[in-house]
């Protein structure tokens, strides 16, 4: 996984609440068997009409706004567990999503792909939107080490929370599987004590 330490970038504002993963990547684009190329269909039905023409009123089609940070309304990423949503956002070029609230599964999926979900207060989110809409060149600095997000050139800044284990993984580019593969003995020891495995053992033998 790619390491994440700190970025400074302009941002794309999307002040809609409850953006579900069906909007981020509709199901009909989930037929791929690799992780690549989902960015082309990010927010597909908000971004393009049914003739595949860009809809001019959608923010990703507005040439005034660009950057590596997506700023969205609360409860971002709700609905389906499809990791394709995180892949699509990352593949499009975003490194960070800022919102005042994230759905659980999306947050986990993002972290597993080096895409940083930054949860800020409602009031801070409103301030960020105001600054971006007032000046499209507004830069945001997201510092994972310090756990801060700052509107560059102002003293407006907020701390954000992140699980310390996940923070270490992101900064070093580790993934969970490397960690778990080293726990094999503990996992096998657990299996010997498992109530469930003993109940179904007539149907399936647990390897010693």
């Amino acid at each position: 996984m790619e390491k994440f330490v700190k970025i400074t970038s302009t941002a794309v504002p999307l002040p809609i609440e409850d953006i579900d993963t069906d909007q981020i990547i509709p199901a009909r684009f989930l037929k791929a068997t690799t992780r690549d190329g989902f960015g082309d269909n990010l927010f597909r039905d908000w971004r393009y009409d049914n003739q595949n023409n860009p809809k001019p009123d959608f923010i990703l089609n507005n040439p005034n706004f660009s950057g590596q940070i997506l700023v969205a309304g609360k409860n971002f990423g709700c609905g389906s567990s499809r990791e394709h949503a995180a892949w699509a956002i990352a593949d499009y070029g975003f490194k960070v999503v800022i919102s005042s609230f994230f759905a659980d599964i999306f947050k986990g999926n993002a972290l597993n792909n080096g895409l940083l979900p930054v949860q800020v207060s409602e009031s801070f989110l409103a301030t960020v939107f105001e600054h971006i809409f007032a000046d499209k060149n507004t830069q945001l600095e997201v510092d994972l080490e310090a756990q801060t997000v700052t509107i560059v050139g102002t003293n407006i800044s907020e701390k954000f929370e992140i699980n310390q284990y996940k923070k270490t993984c992101l900064i070093n580019g580790y993934d969970d599987i490397d960690y778990l593969l080293n726990l094999r003995e503990k996992i096998e020891a657990y299996e010997k004590t498992s109530k469930y495995l003993s109940l179904v053992s007539q149907d399936q033998e647990v390897e010693a």
Partner: protein, 471 residues
């Protein structure tokens, strides 16, 4: 929690912790990992890249459901990308030694329908699947939840999952349900109260006399939609209704093992005095047939109520999203939905496609006929459900009523396979999500119970089923 009183959730969670990481998640052992064609291929590719196999292939079970046609399943899948994805699952299962109930297999079906009906889902287990409706299995008193593909790979590699322990919520429904009100109405009612994100970060236990009186299939409908209020999962303490359902099923423990299992399962309940982070109680008598009017499952009302107005919103920040939602649906604030014409009715999905759902619908439509404007599709959740329906003659009743009984799959729930609702059309649906474009680009979904769907198919307009039941 310092108290030795534990919730049902805590008992099962604690029994599955292999080890805990300091200031990090727990390493949770996963008893059963369910997989399907859409969220698994990249996980298998990941294992190959690492040069490792599936750690416990016997603890993994696969089926093809999301991306399959629900017509002519004996023929090769026509759409090339869908065929490739389903073939990839077959190839991966063969390569990694995983049991697959693919198209044509008598056990094939929607992953959350087949687990319970085969006796694979048992109380006290941990179950995961790359699908957010995995919470369905919670009806048996299991910790079951949806995961992303990186986590699918994690479980394949180690049979474990890193998870931070969620907070706990209990929702009690007390009293008796009125005639015409189903468990689908209970869960739509709950979500309308708690809101789409209101249970994010929590695992929910459903309790109370109204829940206890429900059949297993009705309980599954409730747990299924836990994710629609943000909860990672929902569960119900197992009882005699649960044990009777499990007994004799294909892969359920048999003989002495079953008795031993039941003795253990009887310990799976929330201790008197155990505390929840949040608790809500609702009166079953206040629940009526429900319907959604907007583009998330929290936007639900009693079928006779009017769509709220901006003034009714609790938070100013939600105004733009609310207006966007009504514009998409083509509704006005303050409208009533009763008598709105509807051309599409979909009965199916992991929420409502089990044999009891089909029986309820067949019983209701027997001797009636769908309205001429309506396209009424009913899709069984599994091959076993389909065969059972045919054995009971439900297929004949449904056909005579003008309903099309299809072959099993996720079908029009998610707009992925060929079953879709056309742009701009309204669909009254027993599925679980009414997001923009969920049933196809531009499709407008209203979530309801199977009875409300059946009543709407008969009249061709949104109907309070109680009026037809009392007539």
């Amino acid at each position: 929690m310092t108290s030795d009183k534990k919730t049902l959730f805590q008992k099962i969670w604690d029994a599955h912790v292999v080890t805990s990481i300091e200031e990090g998640p727990d390493v949770l052992y996963i008893d059963k990992h369910l997989i399907h064609e859409v969220t698994s291929p990249q996980a298998f590719a990941g294992l190959e890249k690492r040069g490792i196999g599936v750690f416990r292939p016997q603890n993994v079970l696969a089926t093809a459901d999301h991306n399959v046609p629900t017509k002519d399943q004996h023929l090769p899948i026509a759409e090339p990308l869908s065929r490739f994805q389903v073939d990839k699952l077959t190839e991966n299962c063969k390569k990694f030694g995983i049991e697959l109930y693919g198209l044509g297999h008598p056990f094939q079906g929607i992953v959350h329908v087949i687990g319970p009906e085969l006796g694979v889902t048992l109380p006290g287990m941990t179950i995961v699947c790359g699908d957010s409706h995995t919470s369905t299995h919670g009806a048996f008193g299991t910790i079951a939840f949806g995961i992303g593909t990186s986590e699918v790979e994690q479980v394949m590699a180690t049979q474990c999952l890193m998870q931070s322990k969620p907070k706990t919520m209990r929702i009690n429904i007390e009293g008796e349900l009125a005639n015409g009100v189903l468990s689908k109405d209970i869960i739509l009612y709950i979500i309308s109260k708690i809101s789409m994100g209101g249970a994010t970060g929590y695992f929910v236990e459903y309790a109370g006399s109204a829940i206890r009186s429900l059949s297993m299939e009705a309980r599954m409908t409730i747990c299924n939609m836990s994710i629609e209020m943000g909860a990672r999962g929902g569960l119900i303490a197992p009882d005699d209704i649960t044990f009777d359902y499990i007994k004799g099923r294909e892969f359920a423990p048999k003989g002495d093992k079953f008795d031993e299992a039941v003795a253990y399962w009887r310990t799976l309940f929330t201790d008197e005095g155990a505390t929840f982070d949040v608790e809500y109680t609702y009166d079953a008598a206040d629940i009526t047939p429900m319907i959604t009017y907007g583009t998330n499952p929290g936007m639900g009302i009693k079928i006779t109520e009017h769509i709220p107005t901006v003034a009714d919103l609790k938070e100013e920040s939600g105004k733009a999203s609310f207006e966007k939602s009504l514009a998409y649906m083509g509704f006005n604030a303050g409208d009533t939905l009763i008598d709105k014409p509807v051309n599409y009715v979909f009965i199916g999905s992991c929420t409502n496609s089990r044999i009891e759902d089909l029986r309820l619908v067949a019983d209701f439509v027997k001797g009636k006929h769908k309205a001429p404007n309506v396209n009424a599709m009913i899709v069984p959740g599994s091959k076993q459900v389909e065969n059972q329906a045919k054995a009971e003659g439900l297929d004949v009743i449904l056909k005579e009523a003008g309903f099309e009984l299809r072959e099993p799959g996720c079908s029009a729930c998610l707009g992925m396979n060929e079953d879709k609702v056309p742009k701009g059309e309204y669909c009254v649906s027993t599925s679980n999500r009414n997001f923009e474009g969920r049933q196809g680009p531009g499709a407008r979904t209203m979530l309801v119970s199977p009875l409300t769907a059946a009543a709407t198919a008969i009249t061709g307009k949104i109907t309070d089923v109680r009026e037809l039941l009392n007539a």
